[in-house]
């Protein structure tokens, strides 16, 4: 069947959409994530994770209605979860702070 994937201009649409979304929202996301994590390394990783989730799944209703609110909230949640995971790891490691 003639349905093999041939790269076309339309294949670039998604990348362009994602690029535009990223450029428009990175700054507030970064501020929100860094405020939660307190360091840039974790803020970077939180934002990366949010964008990977955006293109791995289908767009949710909340995302479609208000992308910036969705992305900032997701970045903060991800940043908070990373912080909690780190704390948990620290507490369960022998010699860690209890």
């Amino acid at each position: 069947m003639a349905t093999t994937k041939v790269p076309t201009i339309k294949d670039e649409i998604f990348r362009q959409e994602l690029d535009a979304l990223y450029r428009e929202n990175f700054r507030p996301m970064y501020r929100a994530a860094k405020c939660v994590t307190g360091n840039r390394h974790d803020a970077d990783e939180a934002i990366e994770k949010v964008f990977v989730r955006v293109f791995e799944g289908q767009p949710s209703r909340v995302f479609r209605e208000n992308p910036i609110a969705y992305l900032c909230k997701a970045a903060m949640n991800e940043a908070r979860n990373r912080g909690l995971r780190k704390l948990k790891k620290l507490m369960t490691t022998p010699g860690g702070t209890r």
Binding site: M1, A2, T3, K5, V6, P7, T8, K10, D11, I13, F14, R15, E17, L18, L21, Y22, F26, R27, Y30, R31, K34, C35, R40, A43, D44, I47, E48, F51, V52, V54, F55, E56, Q58, P59, F63, R64
Partner: protein, 161 residues
């Protein structure tokens, strides 16, 4: 007693929300985008969209999927007759009327194109041939990912596979 000045939310945020420097945000922007792009390269996003129903390819109904698959398989030999015959094998039913209407709908949506047969002789009624477009090809790929099956409603009780 000195009256306390009330602050609105914007003022509170400006005063207490830690802000990153312009240089820091710029460098983080580039750094994170490179990592997002590297992840993006691992995924096939050719049919994806961030908006609408999440696809950049048009959706297909079951019969449209069968008709379009027949058009794709038959390539240059796709006439109403040959397409109907192929769809008949999958549905177990003669449905030339439905196929005709479906072909019209697909052509209107730009998923297939219609050509007159150049080999028809003078005075002979030219046969129309159908060809799949790039959008049609994408629609077929989407339908496959969605798990649409070709064989449906076999009335003879035979296993559809």
């Amino acid at each position: 007693m000195k009256k306390r000045k009330k602050m609105n939310m914007d003022e509170i945020l400006r005063k207490y929300w830690p802000s990153a420097s312009h240089e820091e945000v710029e460098s983080a922007d580039e750094r994170v985008w490179k990592r997002v792009e590297a992840e993006l390269d691992k995924h096939d996003t050719s049919l994806r969209s961030l908006y609408g129903d999440g696809w950049s390819a048009p959706p297909l109904e079951q019969l449209e999927f069968q008709v379009l698959t027949a058009v794709s398989l038959l390539d240059d030999r796709g006439t109403l007759k040959s397409i109907t015959a192929m769809v008949h094998k999958w549905t177990g039913r003669e449905m030339v009327g439905h196929v005709y209407l479906t072909l019209g709908g697909l052509a209107e949506r730009g998923i297939i194109t219609l050509h007159s047969d150049p080999t028809s002789e003078y005075g002979e009624e030219p046969q129309h041939r159908f060809k799949i477009t790039e959008d049609g090809d994408r629609a077929l790929r989407r339908a496959k990912i969605e798990g649409k099956e070709l064989v449906t409603d076999r009335e003879d009780g035979l296993d559809p596979r």
